[in-house]
Structures are given as structure tokens and as C-alpha cells.
């Protein structure tokens, strides 16, 4: 009986160990990830006499400011960097952040991630259609998009992030945006 209990405990322990190992395998390896953008929109405060027009104090997921596209506007600010920032050529990008939509009348609203490849190959243009995936309004909602990348990118290729509202609907806010590049 004792032997059985011991064997049983051993089995449970080894199962837990195996599970732990598997979970460790799933954990994020920091060397495989590089942050291309991490913006809570607080960094402008105090540095420039006039804040950029795409910042708003009306809503914020963290801190005081958020990125704002007003009612009837098509574009706001654009973020720009290069893949050089990472020490490797990523195989995918992951955009994450928070959005606050004032109503269901926001119409077509795209968070656009573009990789410009200087005519060496076709640019990569991907959009997260916020109006299609967020169905709760007047509250902060998480957003995420994964973009699979081809293998022939180069460090000098540029990454542009913007919000494009072709139908110029109701106002919307974004905050705590991050763009991670994965090896």
C-alpha cells in the first residue's frame, strides 16, 4: 500500500515536472523579441511647448494622454522606425494596445502597420479593422494583431504605424500601443 502511494506520488510529481517544462517552453524568450514601439503617449509632456494635435487628455488608459482621432478626421499622427532597431530580421510582428470607441458609429477604422521595402520588394501593408473586431463602446478595450512577415526583409526596411479612418466616423482613442517583433 505504501509502495503504491509512493509510486502514485512519484507519478504526480513527474507529471507536474513535465507540465512545468512544457510551460517553460511556452514562455517568452526575451532574446527572441524586440520592441519596435512602446508608447503610452506621456513622453511629450513638458518637452514641447504645444502638444501634438493627435494627443488628447479627454481619455487615457494609463497616465494623462492618449492618441486621438477626432470625429470626421481621416488620419492623425504616424509612428516611424526601422527593423534595424532589432538585432535580427523578425518573422512576425505583434501589435497590441487599447482603444476607446465613442460609439458604434466609428465606421471603418484601421490601425495600419506598413513595412516599406524601398522598391526592393512589394511593401507589406496590414490593417487591424477596429470597427470589425471591437463591439463594446465607451470603455477601454484591448486590441491585438499578428502580422506574419516574409523572410526577405532587411534591417533598413521601415516600419510605419498609423490610424486610418477612410469613412471618417465618430471619435476614437488609443493608448499603450506596443509593436513587438518576433524572431
Amino acid at each position: 500500500m505504501t509502495d503504491y502511494t509512493f509510486r502514485y506520488k512519484l507519478r504526480v510529481l513527474s507529471s507536474l515536472l513535465l507540465f512545468g517544462l512544457l510551460m517553460a517552453g511556452c514562455a517568452k524568450d526575451e532574446s527572441n523579441v524586440c520592441v519596435l514601439m512602446n508608447s503610452d503617449f506621456e513622453q511629450f509632456d513638458g518637452w514641447v511647448p504645444t502638444l501634438p494635435p493627435f494627443l488628447s487628455e479627454a481619455k487615457a488608459h494609463s497616465g494623462r494622454y492618449s492618441y486621438f482621432v477626432g470625429a470626421g478626421a481621416e488620419f492623425a499622427g504616424t509612428y516611424h522606425t526601422t527593423l534595424e532597431r532589432c538585432g535580427f530580421i523578425p518573422s512576425r510582428l505583434q501589435l497590441r494596445g487599447w482603444t476607446y470607441l465613442s460609439s458604434g458609429l466609428i465606421r471603418a477604422t484601421n490601425v495600419v502597420v506598413e513595412v516599406r521595402c524601398h522598391d526592393r520588394r512589394p511593401n507589406i501593408w496590414r490593417a487591424l479593422a477596429i470597427d470589425q473586431v471591437v463591439r463594446r463602446y465607451q470603455q477601454w478595450e484591448p486590441i491585438t494583431k499578428t502580422i506574419l512577415l516574409p523572410s526577405d526583409l532587411e534591417p533598413t526596411d521601415e516600419v510605419w504605424v498609423s490610424v486610418w479612418c477612410p469613412e471618417r466616423g465618430d471619435s476614437k482613442y488609443f493608448d499603450d500601443l506596443t509593436l513587438e517583433a518576433w524572431r
Partner: protein, 431 residues
């Protein structure tokens, strides 16, 4: 002359009327309860129901047609609904209610002709996409005339068939897709022993009816705008032009309509599979007798195939309106009815179907993190629920707890129908 000594005798003869009345009662009860408890916040009225395409129909009703070579215009819409609306002198809500009445009457007639069991009738009446039946859209008239043409085929009434084709042709541009369906139906029908002459006669008169309808629309548009092909030329401003398919598939209607568009895609691809199999059997008809599929079912399959091919070739990977074009038609009702009459399928057949269905969901990027705003586990859960929903319909005739399952699906569907209607009347995108 038929006389009924009491209402109960009448109901016994036409039990479907009792089912439709029960549905209306349950729908009214659920709507009033959800509204009273604040679960839904808006009910349709003349202003809030006049959204989206209602604007265009109202324009035609008031001013007739106009055509622009540079932007969207009323020319893309067919004339029967707006002129019928003008004739009734009703406001938007009145027209919506009339549409709902037309739909209920057509559905009752269809279900009566098909001898559709009460459970199936209730389930089909609750299809979430049927919210468009209470809006001044063409869905109700299209349902009425499509029912007429299908029942013409089913009951062998040539006049119903022709009238249905003319009515559909005047109601909606989708009827231009009847031609391949009609040819395919004629081909298969003519291959049945002793049916060649009849099939060719029906096929020819069907083409003639379709031609009359399209010709009438062209004449009206030429008369008003000097452009007989205006309805065709205006399509490009609604994003309908020949283009490559983009992956992953999306729907601008959003996550709460995507599952219905995905189901329509499933129905469309299943129809393509069945039609391919029928075509193959037609080619081998000298070696093996052709399966005796009723012409109404073949036509319904043909319609779904044409709509699927059109959407895949003209919307570039967007399933915009797919659910509306498939699930709100009597073609879908006929397909579900035919499925309900089939003998039980073996378990392995369901396993193959399940595997094919799970593979299909990858067109939405489910397994490769391309289903936007969802983690992989969330996406898998979304499509697992959708698969379960689909397979409840597919296996229903073989399930032990049919009544319970139908009741669950019915209530869920009605809640979805009311949710989508509320989205529509708030001017959110649902189509």
C-alpha cells in the same frame, strides 16, 4: 369550395399557420421582455429603420432613378421594391411591417407545400439573418418570388415558375445569377428518364422569364437615365468587381456577423461540392443512373453556388453580405428541408465533414494567429462554438433530444436576431 366548420379544423388542415402564429407570439413576448428589462434599448420606428440601403430605395421611391459614372447611385438597385413602396404610400416602419407580413405568408406557404415539420419551421423562422425581413429591403419580396419559383418546380406549376422568375428578376440583381442555376437544373432534369422534353420546355421558358425581367429593368433605367446597363455599371461603386481573393477572409460587418457569413460560406462550398458530384454523375449517367434529386433542390444548390462564386470572385476575400444573400432565402429553407428528409448518415461521414469544416476555418486565419484581435485559444473557442452550432443543424434529424436542441437554438437565434436588429437601427454596420 372548401369550408371549415371551426378554427380548429382550419388549423388541423394548415398546421403551419399555428406554427407561424406561435413564432410571432414568442417573438413579440421575447422582444417586449428584453426591452422592458433594458437588455435591448431600441425598438424600430419610422426614423431609425430608414438606415443604409433604405436611403437608396426611398430615393427611387420619391424621385425615380439617377445614375453617376463617378460615385454610388440608385442605379444599382432593382425597381420592384421602391415602386411597390411608392404604391403603398407607407412610411418606412409601415413598409417594414408589410415586408414582415409578406415574408411570414410566403414562409407559411413554402413550409406547407414542403410539409416541413413544426420543429424545423420554428428553427428556420428564427434564422438570425432574417432581421432584414422587418426592414424596407428587398429580402421579403425576393423570398416571396423565390418561393413561387421553387414551388413551381416542386409542384410542377409552370405559371408559378415563370411568375417567380419575373418577380425575382424585378426585385434584385442577384436574380441575374439564376441563369447558370437554371441551366444546371435543366441539364440534370432532362437526364431523368422521360423528362427531357419537359425539362427543356421549363428551362427555355425560365430563361425567357429571366430575360423579360432583366429587359424590363434595363428598359426602365434606359427610359429614366438613358443608360440600359446602369445597374451593371453601378456595381463597381459597391466594391463589386472582378478581383483576386485576399487571405484571410474578413467581413466588414464585424465579429457579430462573421459567424453568419462563415456559415453562408460553408453552405456555399457544400453546394459546390454537391453540384460537382452531381455533374460528375451526369457525365457517368450511361454507366450509373443519375440520383433523383428534386429540381427545386438542384436549383437551390445552383443559386448558392453562383452566389458563392460571385462573392469569392468579386469581393476580394470579403464575405460582406454573404449571410444575407444565402440564409434569408427560401433556397436555404429548401436545402435544410431536403437535409431533414435524408436517411441517417453514418458516423464516419460526420467525422469527414467535421475535419473538412475545421480545415475550412483556416480561411479566417484561425490556426495561424491571423484572426484579428483574438488570441489563438480565443479564436479556437469562437470557431469551436460555430462548429457546434453548425453540427447541431446537420445532426438534428438524428439527435435523441431534438426538442431540447431546437428549443435552445430557437431562443439563441431569436436573441441574435433582436441584437442584430438593434445594431441596425442604431446605424451600426450589420450588412
Amino acid at each position: 369550395m372548401i369550408s371549415f366548420s371551426s378554427p380548429s379544423l382550419f388549423i388541423r388542415r394548415y398546421p403551419i399557420l399555428g406554427v407561424v402564429a406561435l413564432h410571432v407570439l414568442l417573438l413579440a413576448a421575447l422582444t417586449s421582455v428584453l426591452y422592458c428589462f433594458g437588455v435591448i434599448h431600441y425598438l424600430p420606428d419610422s426614423e431609425n429603420i430608414a438606415r443604409w440601403d433604405v436611403y437608396w430605395y426611398a430615393l427611387i421611391r420619391e424621385n425615380g432613378y439617377s445614375f453617376s459614372t463617378t460615385s454610388s447611385s440608385t442605379a444599382a438597385f432593382f425597381p420592384l421594391l421602391p415602386y411597390f413602396w411608392r404604391f403603398t404610400h407607407l412610411d418606412a416602419l409601415g413598409m417594414g411591417l408589410l415586408n414582415f407580413g409578406i415574408f411570414l405568408a410566403a414562409f407559411a406557404w413554402l413550409a406547407h407545400q414542403l410539409r416541413l415539420p413544426a420543429r424545423w419551421a420554428l428553427l428556420l423562422l428564427s434564422t438570425p439573418a432574417l432581421l432584414f425581413m422587418v426592414i424596407p429591403y428587398t429580402e421579403a419580396l425576393f423570398f416571396l418570388f423565390s418561393t413561387l419559383l421553387l414551388m413551381g418546380l416542386h409542384r410542377g406549376r409552370l405559371s408559378w415558375w415563370m411568375l417567380g422568375l419575373v418577380g425575382c428578376g424585378l426585385t434584385r440583381s442577384a436574380s441575374t445569377m439564376f441563369v447558370p442555376a437554371l441551366l444546371f437544373t435543366t441539364l440534370l432534369w432532362a437526364a431523368q428518364p422521360g423528362q427531357a422534353r419537359r425539362a427543356l420546355q421549363w428551362g427555355g421558358l425560365g430563361l425567357l422569364s429571366n430575360g423579360i425581367a432583366v429587359g424590363t429593368v434595363m428598359f426602365i433605367q434606359w427610359y429614366q437615365m438613358d443608360e440600359p446597363f446602369a445597374f451593371y455599371k453601378a456595381q463597381q461603386f459597391w466594391g463589386h468587381h472582378l478581383q483576386a481573393v485576399h487571405y484571410p477572409f474578413v467581413t466588414p460587418s464585424g465579429i457579430n456577423m462573421l459567424w453568419l457569413d462563415a456559415l453562408a460560406l460553408w453552405v456555399g462550398l457544400a453546394s459546390i461540392g454537391v453540384c460537382t458530384w452531381l455533374a460528375f454523375r451526369w457525365l457517368r449517367r450511361r454507366h450509373q443512373p443519375l440520383p433523383a434529386v428534386p429540381p427545386a433542390v438542384v436549383f437551390a444548390l445552383g443559386y448558392c453556388v453562383c452566389i458563392t462564386l460571385f462573392i469569392l470572385s468579386h469581393q476580394g476575400g470579403s464575405l460582406w453580405n454573404f449571410g444575407r444573400y444565402v440564409l434569408t432565402t427560401p433556397f436555404f429553407v429548401v436545402l435544410v428541408w431536403y437535409l431533414s428528409t435524408q436517411p441517417a448518415w453514418p458516423r464516419r461521414f460526420y467525422v469527414y465533414l467535421l475535419l473538412a469544416t475545421l480545415a475550412l476555418w483556416q480561411v479566417f486565419g484561425v490556426y495561424t494567429l491571423e484572426f484579428d484581435n483574438f488570441t489563438r485559444s480565443q479564436a479556437l473557442w469562437y470557431f469551436a462554438l460555430l462548429t457546434a452550432y453548425l453540427f447541431l443543424y446537420l445532426t438534428l434529424r438524428q439527435l435523441r433530444w431534438k426538442g431540447e436542441v431546437v428549443m435552445g437554438l430557437y431562443v439563441f437565434n431569436l436573441v441574435m436576431q433582436l441584437h442584430l436588429l438593434e445594431c441596425f437601427i442604431q446605424y451600426f454596420v450589420v450588412q
